[in-house]
């Protein structure tokens, strides 16, 4: 990438450009990493020059308005059904890259069946899974991914795993499927991790374009509002609790049904 611009008779190399997001203010709470994910997806679309070759699916959850930000054709699914929509799109438009953005309530609870089966069929889609261990949009209730002992609006005494089971680690499940070609867990809590997350998004979109199977990119995220914390405290809790329970890194880098 050696694009240059000329200013005052001098040539400069472009090292960073504002992503070509739609001109709309994001609605996310201060300190929330949802916006980072969408910005990075846009950067990848811009850099690959594939605006016309990408179709996205927004979830029901805080990312519901992703179609107002990301600058490509998008569809808004019912709660949990994003992977079914993505399947429909990918099957009739096989030359497009198709991605979903889904929260943990959307993907791991109400839409678990759709998610697992899309992964198992090896749909040529990229799933971006925003796991903040809580139902952000509805005011901070317990999710299937809520940590043991974590206090939420619907687990006021902390998640009791005897009653609610252990947090579901979806990435660990889908990595076992032949259909997935790439399963990774990333975060966005610091600049290094944001760069790694972007690489993962690039790879996932590339896999979808090249029909290599399902890519599952989990972003272990935060939710200052749902966690009832300041943005600063939420970063601390994110690092000390979330990243311990959901360790980062690639779980699988090759696969897909041959």
């Amino acid at each position: 990438m050696s694009e240059t611009i000329t200013k005052d008779g001098q040539e400069f190399e472009v090292v960073w450009k504002k992503p070509n997001l739609q001109k709309k203010d994001m609605h996310y709470c201060p300190g929330c990493a949802h916006g980072t994910l969408e910005k990075l997806i846009q950067e990848v679309i811009d850099e690959k020059g594939i605006q016309d070759r990408v179709i996205g699916v927004a979830p029901v959850g805080c990312a519901v308005f992703a179609y107002d930000y990301i600058n490509c054709d998008m569809q808004e699914a019912a709660h949990g059904r994003a992977c079914a929509l993505a399947t429909g799109i990918a099957r009739v438009l096989p030359d497009k890259a198709v991605f979903t953005i889904q929260g943990d309530g959307d993907l791991a609870s109400i839409g678990l069946a759709e998610t697992l089966h899309a992964c198992n069929r090896g749909e040529n889609i990229a799933i971006f899974f925003y796991n903040n261990a809580i139902y952000g949009m509805t005011g901070g209730q317990m999710a299937p991914t809520t940590l043991p002992g974590q206090v939420t609006a619907s687990s006021p005494d902390g998640r009791d795993c005897k009653l609610s089971g252990m947090p579901l680690k979806v990435a660990d499940i889908v990595k076992e499927f032949d259909g997935t070609c790439y399963v990774t867990r990333q975060a966005a809590n610091n600049a290094v991790n944001v760069r790694k997350l972007k690489k993962a998004i690039e790879k996932a979109i590339d896999n979808s374009l090249n029909k290599r199977g399902t890519s599952f990119v989990e972003l272990v995220g935060n939710c200052p509002s749902g966690w009832k914390m300041t943005p600063v405290d939420s970063y601390k809790w994110w690092e000390e609790n979330m990243l311990k329970f959901y360790p980062l890194g690639d779980l699988k880098t090759e696969g897909g049904i041959k």
Partner: protein, 353 residues
């Protein structure tokens, strides 16, 4: 002259969809509909057309949503319990105005019910089923031939109005074998899919957003007004029905689908006995042929709504006649076949003969 085939209703429906240019099918097995899925599972992959046996009807309808929103000709088929499961998706599809064809090969309910034929899903088909103020266009075949013919019509209407179209069939029509001809004159009408999410942002200058979410009250109301205006247009233009011996009838039968065949037979038998009975057969139950039913209510003494249910369509008949003449119901449930003898006995009572 097209060739004649001996086929099951379910197979005729699938074959017609292929000839109508289907681009994708998503379904889930359920009796008495499974032959449609099986037929597609054989032919669509061979022709390079999208086909997925989904993990549930919930998924199937949402695959329809995704693929239909790309501007393609998409279909799903199911039977009653499966159609109940699809209602969430149907509501989203109706609001987002995605063209697609849905088929309910009805079986008896409520609950898991029976695999026998039924017309117990009339309310669900015509009054909503899912949440919110929406309508499906509902076509009601009564023969294997119409199981085929109405598929072309369903695709065309769904694209004309950007609205889901339901073919409301039943287990008997799906399973019975009759001869069928497939039209060889069919040409897909021109279809402008610039609204569809199929890439092409650069050409359009802006991305497409397929959504059913309208947080601002004014926008939600505007969307509802837009939908209602469209439904009004459909009501004005797309009502379809058949009249049988209504010219001098004292009593009118109203029946659709399989029931209309038995009702027709009952008309013939009754006329042999000198009873002046006719039949109005709705070929669309939404929009409902209320106008013609009202018109004939000035001539007939009464109507009998004949349905394989405890009486659902009868409510629309009553609304159509505005309480001016008596309307009674005859029906059976559980898959028990309607009896022409019982129909005629009831008819005699109604007209005092």
């Amino acid at each position: 002259m097209a060739e004649k085939y001996l086929m099951k209703g379910n197979e005729a429906l699938a074959e017609a969809a292929i000839r109508a240019g289907i681009d994708g099918y998503f379904g889930y097995p359920i009796t008495p509909q499974s032959e449609v899925l099986e037929y597609f599972s054989k032919w669509l992959p061979r022709k390079g057309i999208a086909y997925v046996q989904a993990e549930s009807e919930v998924s199937a309808i949402n695959m329809v949503y995704g693929a239909g929103a790309c501007g393609k000709r998409i279909m799903t088929t199911t039977s009653s319990p499966g159609f109940s499961l699809m209602q969430e998706g149907v509501s989203y599809i109706a609001c987002a105005q995605i063209p697609c064809v849905l088929v309910n090969v009805q079986r008896g309910g409520p609950g898991l019910g029976t695999i026998q034929p039924s017309q117990g899903d009339y309310f669900q088909a015509t009054k909503g089923g899912g949440h919110g103020d929406y309508r499906l266009i509902v076509l009601t075949p009564n023969s294997v031939q119409e199981q085929a013919d109405m598929v072309y019509k369903a695709f065309d209407l769904s694209e004309k109005y950007l609205n889901p179209v339901l073919i409301l069939s039943d287990g008997a029509l799906g399973q019975m074998m009759e001869t069928v001809e497939f039209r060889d004159d069919y040409k897909k009408p021109a279809f402008d899919a610039t609204w569809a999410s199929n890439g092409g942002v650069a050409k359009r200058g802006k991305p497409v957003q397929i959504t059913s979410l309208f947080i601002e009250p004014e926008r939600m109301e505007a969307k509802n007004n837009e939908l209602q205006a469209k439904y009004k247009l459909i009501e004005e233009n797309e009502v379809d029905y058949e009249l049988y011996h209504m010219e001098d009838a004292e009593l009118g039968f109203i029946a659709y689908g399989l029931s209309s065949r038995i009702a027709k037979k009952a008309v013939d038998l009754a006329r042999e006995q000198g009873l002046k009975i006719g039949l109005i057969r709705p070929k669309t139950v939404w929009p409902f042929p209320a106008k013609i039913i009202k018109e004939y209510s000035k001539k007939v003494k009464a109507y009998m709504s004949i349905e394989m249910s405890v009486g659902q369509m009868i409510e629309d008949v009553k609304l159509a006649v505005e309480c001016k003449i008596p309307v009674e119901h005859y029906g059976k449930t559980g898959g028990i076949v309607l009896s022409t003898d019982e129909i005629i006995a009831k008819a005699k009572k109604m007209i005092g003969k």
